[in-house]
Amino acid sequence: MTRPLVEAAALSKHFTLGGGGLFRRPGETLRAVDGVDLRIMEGETLGLVGESGCGKSTLGRLLIRLIEASDGQVLFDGADITGLPPAKLRSLRRAMQIIFQDPYGALNPRMAVEDIVMEPMVIHGAKPDAAARQRVAAMLELVGLPRQAALRFPHEFSGGQRQRIGIARALVLRPRFIVCDEAVSALDVSVQAQIVNLLQDLQREMGLTYLFIAHDLSVVRHISDRVAVMYLGRVVEIAPKAAIYDAPMHPYTRALIAAVPAPHPAGRAARRAARLRVEGEMPSALNLPPGCRFHTRCPHAMAVCRSVSPPLREYAPGHSTACHLHDPQHRPAATEEFAA
């Protein structure tokens, strides 16, 4: 964890809705990701959490250039890859891969497992010969599948096994950076644990760097080194795992963590006492509130929150948040409890 492998600088993705047609007016703009700065260190797992629709999947796809950024830059291993021409991008693709959520939609139903796992190799110039098949078999064994699985088709496997196939496909080119886009969210809890452990083993063996996107906070807690919290296209808090779970700074993070069911009754009581309620729905990314995006639901909203957007600032070592409550300039007396 010495240097950043992947960096986002003022990264934005704006989608224009309903526009572009011959007789249609230019549509509204959806700000899925809006000015995100992020660093993912080599060898670490960065958890990325947030409600559905907050832009976490979009951010993940931007980082590996599965979609093109509207603004800002992505740096991989120190080099700007935002404007890379297709030919150079292709060779870069070896280094970064993605694992998807839906184990049913992520595998082409008309291809045998061997062809699915081999495809990235073939794209990058390998001949589909015995040596390649050998490598596929080794890969399948690495992810915990029998090598005979190579000849079967996706419909013959369970959800967890399919996810293993997806992992094998992502890893066959020996990438350095993997985006796990809700990689375990669609699986049974017992299978989730197996896949999470597999991902951790593979990380150790192959020195991988993960961006682990999820909405399940306990899974994120288990696998991550650091955690970033997203709200409406922005990162609102980022900190080492322990700090974010034990001393969350942003009111949104506090609410998220308070909402995780506590396993122990004593914990529950304590949690209830400190519970922080967030009411209402997340505003639409088509029509963002002015100032802090969270002020419409924040129990501590102040006048400044309605007009000035708080910058992401480091308030404790390695612990940054975008909230006026922690800014000495704005910090009100009534929320003294927040200044941990």
Binding site: G21, L22, R61, I64, L66, L89, R90, S91, R93, R94, M96, Q97, I98, F100, Q101, D102, G105, A106, L107, N108, P109, R110, M111, A112, I116, E119, P120, I123, H124, A130, Q148, L151, R152, F153, H155, E156, G166, R169, A170, L173
Partner: protein, 302 residues
């Protein structure tokens, strides 16, 4: 599932170097098709017509146009299986050779659609920049009622077998393209397509390996119905005198000629009519069966 997997497994264990047998998912689909009663009935009905068409030179005397004025208006049965027409030509011969022409035209229209419908649909669905242009042209063609457009095109080009194929192609390709486009739009967002992009696959590879094979099912269904429409439209056109030029027998022009003698020799119009009905019914049943088995949206409802 265990039954499906057992064989290839053992094969690999015994001889790891040999190319093992793969159970492609298409096998299961085929098995389901042949258990589908409607599909099998349709296949048999259409099979009869297809056999007639293929075997025409051997099951009739070679010339469907041989006149025999002494034998005109012979009713079906006896020496003349299907009777004779106003020139004493064997109706059996004429209907069988007509079947050959119908099937040939149907197949050609289906082939034209399979190639150009897929091409246009795939381009429009995959390259969204082309979508607007291609689909507006498509919409313009689809705005005409099918048979009217076909009549217009053949009237312009003149009646001939080739022109009928061309006209029906122009009429139906936009419809096929729409269906292909719809599946391509859905498929290009699938995660396995995203995975291929992430692996660095080019457009051609993605279309060929990931999108088109999965867009086949709705297209096959569409093409089986299209076959029926094409045969029906061809009969309509030649009934109106816009099809193959007489004396070449087609079901349409046999019926057109027979219309004048409907009261005294009803079989002249009835027999090609029934054959046409069997063809269209068979193809529609076949298409319904295919749709039930191949179209996932309907499979979920079962």
């Amino acid at each position: 599932m265990s039954e499906t997997g057992a064989l290839p497994l053992e094969a690999t264990l015994a001889a790891p170097e040999a190319e093992p047998r793969r159970r492609h998912p298409a096998w299961a689909t085929l098995r389901r098709l042949f258990r589908h009663r409607l599909f099998v009935t349709g296949l048999v009905l259409f099979g009869i017509i297809a056999f007639m068409a293929a075997a025409a030179p051997w099951i009739t005397d070679a010339n469907p146009n041989r006149l025999s004025m002494r034998n005109k208006f012979q009713p079906p049965g006896g020496d003349w299986v299907f009777g004779t027409d106003n020139f004493g030509r064997s109706l059996w011969s004429r209907v069988v050779w007509g079947a050959q022409l119908s099937v040939m035209i149907g197949l050609s229209v289906v082939a034209l659609n399979a190639v150009f419908g897929t091409l246009i649909g795939a381009l429009a669905g995959y390259f969204r920049r082309l979508d607007n242009i291609l689909m507006r042209v498509n919409d313009a063609l689809m705005a005409f009622p099918a048979i009217l457009l076909a009549i217009g095109v053949t009237a312009m080009l003149g009646p001939s077998t080739f022109n009928v194929i061309l006209a029906l192609g122009i009429v139906y390709i936009p419809r096929t393209a729409r269906i292909v486009r719809a599946s391509v739009i859905v498929l290009r967002e699938m995660e396995y397509v995203q995975a291929a992009v992430a692996a660095g696959a080019g457009h051609w590879r993605i279309l060929r390996h990931h999108i088109l094979p999965n867009a086949m099912a709705p297209m096959i269904v569409q093409l089986s119905f299209l076959f029926a429409y094409a045969v029906l439209s061809e009969a309509t056109l030649s009934f109106l005198g816009l099809g193959a030029v007489p004396p070449t027998p087609t079901w349409g022009n046999i019926m057109a000629e027979g219309r004048d003698f409907m009261r005294d020799a009803p079989w002249i119009i009835a027999i090609p009519g029934v054959t046409l009905m069997i063809t269209v019914l068979g193809l529609n049943m076949l298409g319904d069966g295919l749709r039930d088995v191949l179209d996932p949206r309907l499979r979920i409802q079962q």
